[in-house]
């Protein structure tokens, strides 16, 4: 019994010591930048490649909250994060126009692709537009897996359905409420079609039995912006750090790094600042 008691004593004191560190950490945290961004930049590995370099050069620490664009902008709107990087031009313009965001900078782009089974059973490969491809999918009776999470990709998908004048309520339509990676896996399991950003698709390619069945065209361009948060709305955020991150991302060095980032030998993002 004595031994057991001592063991518990040791465990409790160790736990107490460990928890003191978290309950009473240093108060000053101006070195931390909270970045809300999309799952695509995180899942594709781009941020894991860029941010350590930024952190090493500036001493800041970037904490990434990876979520859909809709939620990311919402977090920024509520002042729960310091800076936001997203890919939904219409929602971003609204965010800036309403006075929450300022200094939006386009830093890079990739494009959306329509993925589907390799043999393309709905025959969308020769479609004239993304909307026509969606129309063919809805007629085919095959599954279409939608992010359904108000992310940038989901917003783009809804815009295409609208263009095709189709209410996405047909029998194969499945709204899964998941991030891009999980959605790709589900589309793969169900052998259905889905809309994906090319970056995440390339990062997942080896694990998928899906092919790009439609791509190209202006409709499917996918620009990313980093947007600062209006200091007048939330004066106590880490605006200095946010600005430093934004400035660094448009620097020639970071822009070059974005162009050089490759997964499985493929370039995922195209740097676009100033273009």
């Amino acid at each position: 019994m004595f031994k057991f008691k001592r063991l518990i004593n040791i465990a409790l004191s160790a736990a107490l010591l460990a928890s003191l560190g978290t309950v009473f950490p240093a108060l000053a945290n101006s070195d931390i930048i909270k970045l809300a961004t999309t799952t695509s930049t995180e899942n594709s590995g781009l941020l894991g490649y860029l941010l350590p370099k930024f952190e090493k050069e500036t001493g800041y620490q970037v904490q990434v909250i990876a979520t859909g664009t809709g939620k990311a902008l919402k977090l920024a709107r509520q002042g729960d994060v310091d800076v936001v990087m997203t890919h939904a031009p219409a929602a971003e313009a609204k965010f800036v126009a309403e006075g929450y965001g300022w200094m939006p900078r386009g830093i890079m782009e990739n494009d959306f692709v329509i993925l589907g089974p390799i043999n393309d059973p709905a025959h969308i490969r020769d479609s004239k537009s993304a909307a026509a491809a969606f129309k063919a999918i809805s007629k085919s009776g095959l599954p279409f897996i939608s992010r359904g999470d108000n992310s940038g990709t989901h917003m783009k998908e809804m815009a295409i359905w609208q263009k095709a004048a189709i209410a996405p309520e047909f029998s194969g339509y499945t709204s899964v409420g998941q991030g891009m990676g999980k959605t790709l896996q589900m589309a793969n399991e169900m052998q259905g079609y889905t809309l994906s950003d090319r970056g995440t698709y390339v990062a997942y390619k080896n694990k998928l039995n899906l092919a790009v069945d439609y791509d190209g065209g202006k409709t499917l361009a996918n620009p990313y912006q980093i947007i600062l948060i209006n200091p007048k709305k939330y004066p106590d955020l880490n605006h200095k750090g946010a600005r430093a991150l934004s400035d660094w991302l448009i620097s020639p060095q970071a822009q070059k790094m974005i162009n050089n980032y490759r997964v499985n030998g493929e370039q995922l993002f195209k740097a676009t600042y100033g273009k």
Binding site: L12, A15, S19, V23, I65, G179, Y234
Partner: protein, 235 residues
């Protein structure tokens, strides 16, 4: 799946034994947060459990039922509650605890307190009231009478602690919502497993799952030993 099961498990053990910093940081976050939440809740919860077992006061029935209800609420709902409290627009928004370990600790405290209260109340209720009354009439001070009682009940009380700890160290809903799954900061074992699975990378998820499995084994065997000692020996 392109990788075989065997190679996945090999990779998982590799991550654990090579002391991969990413994997161990996740394990550290889990223990840090859950132990802090448990320690901060422990004494007040057990005191409440004691009061509910021994005292009779108006509203006791209501409190007991509220505790039971809290115990059966899914952790995502508690996560939602903690999120709404901690977001800047919420009543505790000024603390700026959203997406920090402190926020996660708060959420986990809300999750483990009802378990501790309910189970310690059951333990205290099962105690022989006469032991308590005797030591009190013999002039034992209040506190040392409680201490005697707690020692008497160490097995069921420890069981309450283990149950509360397992509930918080394995919950994913509240941690994901309130912590935000930030690498090296708020990414704990359950949220990391959810993320790695969504990425289709299973090695780290398996490594972390193994840690939880081993922890469960250790805790339950330790409890089993303790219970064995406090039970009358069978011949």
């Amino acid at each position: 799946m392109t990788e075989s099961w065997l190679s996945l498990i090999q990779q998982a053990f590799g991550l654990l034994f090579s002391l991969d910093p990413g994997t161990w940081s996740i394990i550290g976050v889990s223990f840090n947060v859950s132990l802090a939440a448990l320690l901060l809740t422990l004494v007040p919860s057990m005191v409440l459990g004691f009061i509910l077992a021994f005292a009779r006061f108006p509203g006791r029935w209501t409190v007991i039922n509220l505790v039971q209800t809290m115990q059966s609420i899914p952790t995502v709902v508690i996560g939602l509650l903690a999120y709404l409290l901690l977001t800047r627009m919420g009543p505790l928004g000024d603390l700026r605890w959203l997406f920090t370990q402190k926020g996660m600790i708060l959420g986990q405290m809300l999750i483990c307190a009802p378990v501790l209260v309910a189970m310690s109340q059951a333990a205290f209720t099962s105690a022989d009231r006469r032991a308590w009354e005797t030591s009190r009439t013999l002039g034992a001070p209040w506190l040392s009478a409680v201490w005697v009682l707690c020692r008497e009940l160490r097995a069921p009380l420890l069981m309450a602690i283990v149950a509360a700890f397992s509930r918080i160290v394995t919950e994913v809903g509240c941690s994901m919502m309130v912590g935000g799954n930030i690498m090296n900061v708020t990414r704990n074992i359950p949220t990391a497993i959810a993320l790695e699975t969504s990425k289709g990378d299973f090695a780290q998820a398996i490594a972390l799952g193994l840690v939880l499995l081993i922890l469960a084994l250790i805790l339950n065997f330790a409890l089993g030993t303790l219970r064995g000692k406090s039970e009358p020996r069978s011949h």
